[in-house]
């Protein structure tokens, strides 16, 4: 794929980083403001999809992106499960919040293991949506052969 017109490329170059930072903000502040892992992960995936649509990719890039997004998705899912199992082995219950009173409520460092769960879900959702997009986009190389 050659990519789109220069107008789209310039706009994508300016806007892409801001979209990525906004997604990270939504994930990290999920326990304070509206949002969380699912919403922030979808925004991060939208940033990657924007740059891939605007600049275009080659077959080898599609293949490496498919492998790396699969690895990130499995990592996110396993991190979320690890937080749950940590609650089981340390606190006694599956998914127990280990240190809920640590930090002051309303600040970034608070709410115990909820921010870590948000980060794990954010990685997982971003990689999942991106890997679905990459697989759908790389079918054109199958039809070309």
């Amino acid at each position: 794929m050659k990519g789109m017109t220069p107008i789209v490329k310039v706009v994508a170059r300016i806007v892409g980083g801001f979209i990525f930072i906004y997604g990270c903000y939504i994930v990290l502040y999920g326990h304070l403001s509206p949002g969380g892992g699912f919403a922030g992960g979808a925004i991060i995936a939208a940033c990657f999809i924007l740059s891939r649509l605007a600049f275009g990719t080659t077959a080898s890039q599609e293949k490496s992106a498919s492998i790396s997004s699969s690895i990130f998705e499995s990592t996110g899912g396993l991190l979320f499960l690890l937080i749950a199992l940590l609650g089981l082995f340390v606190g006694g219950y599956f998914f127990i919040n280990l240190f809920p009173s640590f930090g002051t409520p309303g600040r970034l460092v608070s709410a115990g293991s909820i921010p870590f769960s948000n980060i794990a879900i954010g990685i997982k959702v971003a990689a999942a949506i991106l890997s679905i997009f990459v697989v759908l986009a790389s079918t054109k190389y199958i039809f070309k052969e």
């Binding site: 939504i26 999920g30 326990h31 304070l32 403001s33 509206p34 949002g35 969380g36 892992g37 699912f38 919403a39 979808a42 925004i43 995936a45 939208a46 999809i49 649509l53 293949k63 498919s66 699969s70 998705e73 899912g77 979320f80 499960l81 749950a84 599956f94 998914f95 919040n97 809920p100 009173s101 640590f102 930090g103 409520p105 309303g106 608070s110 709410a111 115990g112 909820i114 769960s117 948000n118 879900i121 997982k124 959702v125 999942a128 949506i129 890997s131 679905i132 997009f133 697989v135 759908l136 790389s138 079918t139 054109k140 190389y141 199958i142």
Partner: protein
């Protein structure tokens, strides 16, 4: 409440347009209008967490559909064909299902407590004790990732299964054998 009813009527009209129009690009745009109307409805019902997810997913799905349509074809060739015998069966089954749906929906609306006027026992516990028990200011997150975290794990598993299904159907290797 009136704005919400107007929005719902707009969504039904856009849905009918999306099904009945012959140009597939216009159909996708009507589908996107339904999705953004759902997002506006979430904002009206004071659920910004859902509205953010709905807007992003709607943008992504419309982009996917438009990319597919630009690569393939604009015209829906299945519209306007004459009805056959199996279509009658579909109409009858769908009519029965719609009647049952309306009946149980009306019964549910009569018997349930009105929305967001009185809180149940569980909801009032979440609202009063949520901050001290979880430390999260956003009560939606405290429910999703602390009280009901097992449901979130199931949701993540559903997404994981969907990705595995797409990867298995559309994989690059193993096609040529």
């Amino acid at each position: 409440m009136l704005e919400l009813i107007v929005l719902l009527i707009f969504m039904i009209a856009a849905g009918i347009v999306a099904v009945e129009i012959r140009d597939l690009l216009a159909s996708v745009i009507a589908l996107g209008a339904v999705g953004f109307a759902v997002a506006i409805g979430f904002i009206m019902l004071a659920a910004p967490d859902l509205a953010i997810v709905q807007i992003v997913i709607e943008v992504l799905s419309v982009v996917f559909f438009v990319a597919v349509i630009l690569k393939t074809t604009h015209v829906d060739s299945t519209l306007g064909r004459p009805y056959k015998g199996e279509d009658v069966f579909t109409f009858v089954v769908f009519g029965l299902f719609a009647l049952a749906f309306v009946y149980f929906g009306v019964r549910l609306l009569i018997n349930l407590a009105p929305m967001s006027r009185e809180l149940g026992q569980v909801a009032s516990h979440y609202l009063t004790q949520g901050l001290t028990e979880t430390g999260a200011v956003n009560r939606v997150t405290s429910v999703v990732l602390d009280y009901r975290a097992l449901d979130t794990l199931g949701e993540a598993t559903v997404l994981f299964t969907a990705v595995i299904g797409v990867l298995a159907v559309l994989r690059l290797e193993g096609r040529k054998k």
